[in-house]
């Protein structure tokens, strides 16, 4: 039993840390620290920075242009990125589609698409959820009908994150009407420039534009847009969702947010003393810090298990539940700490208003935005269902 990293792992960590310290542009880390939305420019430049170092394909095997890192290395890499105030790596191409193509794609698809993910030629977005098929994905209704050499797509996708910047979308569509709903689904790669595809923004409750709806109306896509076999889509979808779960606990992001919160609570005067000296506030802060310390170890334990088994088990649902709750609790405190100063609509405040530390102007908006963390990617209710079946065996 040893909870420490090995000397090799520590050396790796130092290498990542040094690179980020030396290479990450200040405007990028500043923007991340400030919260709120990051534009396409920052996200693209960050991808390019990692790609330049050969690290963008950090979950891919070496022979496809990836790093070949093991689970611990990936974890360390993700934690260091969080600690350095890096943006997230966009998961749609790198973490989701990449592994799918590597496992299920044709040689042509691999050689065409994989390099374009890394070099930024393609920005992928996700066509999974539908208005009537969220948690219950198998009930999806978007149809793809074979017509000569093409497929014809009709239907609607939703919750398409950052689709406004994307040029491509991967789509789950129904290709057979009869049989079990899971058995008639296929997985397609779609160029968003095709006619018959319309992307409409969904504004989120705090005011941001992060997700979209995508409408397909007789959109024609070529035969080679199919990944794997026809009607194999459910298997592919589940494989992809397993990979979506990488870094699901978000421990590094939470540590970073907690550190920012503590700084803010030290600076904030409330009724004659720093808020961090208020016992009720300090108690909330201490509790969430303790929860986070525990979850860091829980995360490492599950990582270790996953490494031994070859893939993560249903226990990762625990990380999703607790990780989102902890992150949300921190965002709640980051909102509370502001008192009245939390009120202004982000971006609406005149310059002479802001007495806030610049890093805090989005705290209230972030609190509302982060409500989604316990909803997307399988809501915490779905995660509890998974735990019930797979772990509790009830």
């Amino acid at each position: 039993m040893d909870l420490n990293f090995t000397p090799e792992e520590l050396a790796f960590r130092d290498e990542v840390r040094a690179f980020l310290r030396e290479s990450l542009p200040l405007d990028i880390s500043d923007a991340v620290r400030r919260g709120g939305e990051l534009g396409a420019d920052i996200l693209s430049r960050f991808h390019a920075l990692l790609n330049g170092r050969g690290w963008l394909g950090y979950v891919w095997p070496r022979d496809h242009g990836g790093t070949g890192w093991n689970a611990i290395q990936r974890h360390i890499f993700e934690e260091e990125m969080a600690a350095a105030d890096c943006p997230r790596i966009l998961p749609f191409g790198v973490n989701m589609l990449g592994p799918v193509l590597i496992k299920f794609g044709s040689e042509a698809q691999k050689s065409h698409y994989l390099p374009r993910i890394l070099d930024g030629t393609d920005w992928w977005c996700q066509g999974y959820s539908e208005p009537g098929a969220g948690s219950d994905l198998a009930s999806l209704r978007t149809r793809a009908v074979r017509d000569g050499d093409d497929w014809v797509l009709n239907g609607q996708k939703t919750w398409t994150t950052l689709g406004q910047y994307a040029n491509r979308i991967f789509v789950l569509a129904r290709t057979r009407a009869d049989g079990k709903p899971q058995e008639g689904i296929s997985f397609f790669l779609v160029d968003l420039d095709n006619p018959g595809i319309e992307m409409r923004p969904i504004r989120l409750l705090e005011g941001g534009h992060e997700v979209n709806e995508v409408f397909f109306t007789d959109a024609r896509i070529p035969a080679d847009a199919l990944v794997g076999e026809e009607n194999q889509g459910w298997t592919i979808a589940k494989y992809l969702l397993t990979h979506e779960r990488t870094n699901i606990a978000g421990v590094g992001r939470s540590y970073r947010a907690l550190a920012q919160l503590k700084d803010l609570a030290r600076q904030t005067m409330r009724d004659g003393r720093p808020l961090i000296d208020d016992p009720l506030f300090a108690a909330r802060l201490a509790e969430v810090e303790i929860d986070l310390e525990a979850m860091n170890i829980l995360n490492l334990r599950m990582l270790d298990q996953a490494q031994k088994r070859g893939q993560p088990g249903a226990e990762t649902s625990m990380l999703k539940i607790k990780g989102s709750v902890i992150r949300q609790e921190i965002s709640d405190l980051a909102r509370r700490v502001l008192g009245p100063a939390a009120a202004p609509f982000p971006g609406s405040a005149p310059d002479n208003l802001a007495l806030l530390p610049e890093d805090a102007v989005n705290n209230a908006a972030d609190y509302f935005n982060m409500r989604k963390m316990s909803i997307y990617g399988g809501s915490n209710e779905i995660q509890r269902n998974i735990l019930t079946k797979a772990v509790l065996r009830l």
Binding site: S129, G132, G134, S135, D136, S139, T158, W159, I202, R203, L204, L205, E206, G207, M269, R270, D271, G272, D278, L280, F281, D332, R335, R336, L338, G339, P340, A341, A342, A343, P344, F345, P346, S348, A349, P350, N352, L353, L355, A364, A365, Y367, F368, N369, R371, K372, S374, I375, Y376, S379, N380, E381, R384
Partner: protein, 352 residues
């Protein structure tokens, strides 16, 4: 003991609710609440014509109401409709003008929009930390989150002169008013005073200010109850209509039990607000109001977060009206004392 509203208040509630449903439907609210001046001046006048402002003042002060129950009936209705009009400021100022025995007909008929500037950046809620100075008929200091301040004609300002608090009147045009829209809709302002000319309205005003704040806090509690009711009704609709795995999600017991718990907590919140309303002008009002605002803060967060969670993706979108209800519910906790601040007032009472 009688838990029925009086005939007058029932009529007030019904006419106000009908007007809100008619004139302030969600789409209109969405249009005005997030763009300057962050409310609808024409509807403000209609609201005053309806007698809503008059109902917040006593007969002595020129109105026809003014009790805790009048206030709670009005704000509960405003909350359910998520109305962004700056009624809270009018209430706070009305109580102080009444304490000073001053004419407030312009306030009550809606022709002059007033706001109260009291909290400050480092002392948002505690009167004993107010730093704005009154000296020789002039005020210097900074007031934060003055609700409705962005579109007010006149302000009452709370200032300190040594140990004593006093209340002063200023014209909006004499101060630097930094208006902004708020994340939950409606407008507010920081008010920056530097040697701003002011007229003394009330000297040695600690008690009168406390009493006005008690009324404002009660109003926020009642507003929150209205918001909770609307939020919970929307949740139940969603649970009945939304289907997953072939059935309405309201048939899933885990959600049923959480919704049942919310129902209990909302009734608790309504109950303590009634209690605070009944005690508003009596002994121990401040303590009871702090109890109410603390419970409202706790239940408000729970209702907001649970309603959002259980409505899933749709619950976090701008175009889904109930999402704005949950935002308001959370942000009420940032006004006139948050959950912890009010708990500490109650704790001080227990120790004493």
């Amino acid at each position: 003991m009688d838990f029925e509203l009086s005939e007058d208040r029932r009529m007030l509630r019904e006419s106000l609710s009908r007007w809100l449903a008619d004139r302030y439907p969600p789409d209109h609210r969405l249009k005005v609440a997030y763009d300057a001046p962050f409310h609808d001046p024409a509807l403000w006048s209609e609201l005053a014509d309806l007698g809503v402002l008059l109902a917040m003042a006593t007969e002595d002060a020129g109105g026809f109401g003014g009790s805790g129950f009048d206030i709670s009936v009005i704000f509960e209705a405003l909350g359910a409709a998520l109305c962004p009009e700056p009624v809270l400021g009018a209430l706070l100022v009305s109580r102080l003008l009444a304490a000073a025995g001053q004419d407030q007909s312009g306030l009550l008929d809606g022709s002059v929009r007033w706001a109260l500037a009291v909290g400050e950046p480092d002392a948002p809620w505690s009167l004993d930390r107010i730093a704005t100075q009154a000296r020789g008929g002039r005020l210097t200091g900074r007031k934060a989150l003055v609700y409705g301040g962005n579109d007010a004609d006149r302000f009452l300002v709370v200032a300190r002169d040594g140990d004593r608090l006093s209340v002063h009147e200023i014209a909006a045009s004499d101060a630097e008013v930094v208006g902004f829209g708020t994340i939950d809709g409606g407008g507010a302002a920081d008010v920056i005073l530097s040697d701003t000319p002011a007229r003394l309205v009330l000297d040695d005003a600690g008690k009168a200010i406390q009493s006005a704040l008690d009324a404002g806090r009660l109003a926020l509690c009642a507003e929150a109850v209205g918001v909770m009711d609307a939020s919970f009704a929307a949740l139940l609709d969603y649970l009945r209509q939304r289907k997953q795995f072939g059935r309405a999600i309201g048939e899933f017991q885990a959600l049923q039990h959480r919704a049942a718990d919310l129902a209990v907590e909302i009734e608790q919140a309504r109950s303590i607000t009634l209690l605070a309303a009944s005690r508003l002008d009596g002994e121990g009002a401040a303590r009871m109001v702090s109890m109410a605002k603390n419970l409202i803060g706790r239940v408000g967060r729970q209702v907001a977060e649970e309603c959002t969670q259980m409505t899933g993706g749709i619950g976090v979108t701008w175009d889904y009206h109930p999402a704005h209800l949950t935002k308001r519910l959370v942000m009420i906790d940032h006004q006139l004392g948050d959950t912890d601040w009010h708990l500490q007032q109650v704790m001080a009472g227990i120790r004493a």
